[in-house]
Amino acid sequence: MIWTTVRVERPEGTVLSRGVPVQIESASGDGERLDFADARPYDLFWLYTTQGVPLVPLRRRDVLFDEINADPETSQPAKYRIVSAVETFENDHQEALCERVVGG
């Protein structure tokens, strides 16, 4: 589990917001999963906002770049894509299930 900040892009390449504080933790635990006719291996993560609901709330298909930590397999900023409906807890926080593609 890590505490960090993310840059939000919607779609990828178009920056929506920066410096969004989040907590990220693994949701996989059993090796990489496969998608897109097995062409797209990924790991699953839970992401929680830690300072309320962002000004522009997160939503499905947003791409989030870790502003502090690199993906250990690519040495590039770790990149997460929200893959399901984002749960919003009033003005407290948001929770999002994300996928991180394995490798480059």
């Binding site: 998608d35 797209r40 990924y42 791409v63 593609v101």
Partner: protein
Amino acid sequence: MPTLPGQPDTFGALQAMQSLILSECLVGGQSPFAPLLSADAARYGVARAVFVGRPKDFSDAYLPQCCIYLPPSAHADTIQLAGFAGRARSTFDAHVLLLVDQRSDWYAAEQQILTLRDALWPVLLRHAQLGGNVPAVTASEALAGRGLCYEQVAGVQYRCFEAIWRIHQEWQIAGGRVL
């Protein structure tokens, strides 16, 4: 008779398909596929989202998108020797998959995928040898694939169309067959 190459050139054939789709699959006189960001344009060597293979890191910014890929199927590939002198023939079925975004307006996506389909078929049918720039390619033909379909990527469903571009290659094993 032209000299046959010493081996097939599958990647060259796929790149020829990519080039033909980029230059000839047009809607309103322009390529309908999304422009790539500069880093990806440099990586893939093309300016728009027409990929050889299925990108591992699927991006919503690259829609509409075209993927030309070889499916993991034993029936998609054939190979045989033609006589004893070492001439060889092979055939592969490349799948041409078009994807569009249907999230905000499914009906607009339906029209868009039909437009792309109609722009793609003439390209696949027009070329008898993929433009003639890949020496190993002796013939190409278009076949119906899955047709209109859906693909789910990263939890999101996309409207798609898929056709098959069958490629025949011929080459001469250098020095012929040996014991």
